[in-house]
Symmetry: C2
Subunit: 124 residues, 2 copies
Amino acid sequence: MTISEVSKKYGLTPDALRYYERLGLIPGVRRSKSGFREYSEEDCRWIEFIKCMRGAGLPIEVLSEYVALFRQGDSTVEARRRLLVEQREQLLARIGEMQETLARLDFKISFYDEVLSVAEAGLK
Amino acid sequence: MTISEVSKKYGLTPDALRYYERLGLIPGVRRSKSGFREYSEEDCRWIEFIKCMRGAGLPIEVLSEYVALFRQGDSTVEARRRLLVEQREQLLARIGEMQETLARLDFKISFYDEVLSVAEAGLK
DNA sequence: TTAAACCCTGGAGCGTGCTCCAAGTCAAGC
DNA sequence: GCTTGACTTGGAGCACGCTCCAGGGTTTAA
């Protein structure tokens, strides 16, 4: 696949794809003889993974480290696990914080609902 | 309260507090006759609210708009409600996305657990 | 009354994560 | 062969959210 095809498929700009590759988030993208990127199925799986992780806020640097470990082979399995566990914990904490904020927004919204319904009743 | 007291109480730097005030996120902070900020209880409630919303990723611009509406009085109750509902929806969507990513991390971690336990069994 | 510690403003600087652009190469259709 | 459009790299630029700093006033305690 060409870069524009992958771009459309995953909703990432070609610039973002090149940027990710430069920072080591997408390992080993092959090139045509004229230097154009040719994304393989495996490349696509990486891209989809990276997109998902970035969407949840994992930093580029951490993902880059994960990919680097992956490329070093089986000896890094434990390190990769530790990295994922740490990111999992941080993600869980962020979700918890956001859920509390969500509850607070719900509370505030229902307060406004009440204010508005009282105001409407007053008009009758 | 002084800015450094509020700073410690909420874990925000004095610079961040001044920055928020400049952008309209903390309305009407009084000053001492020499120009020092004197935070009231109500100021503190705003700060705590803003800190919570920022922690969940609500943009400064949106919060600033909310505060501006609040300061315009009762006629903006409906607009404030709409603003909160929209932010609530976006927050809910982000939480959903993050939960999916969490599930994916869990899956990957349990995969690594398996790889590691197989490797350990192989050593025996 | 003087040093240390705190506060002020305005503006520059910085980290993150892209996004855009110039200048050039390559490919496909006419 | 020529044009049009896609691709390349390297680097500049940008949006967001602070963070830091200079230069200067204030407060407090010795």
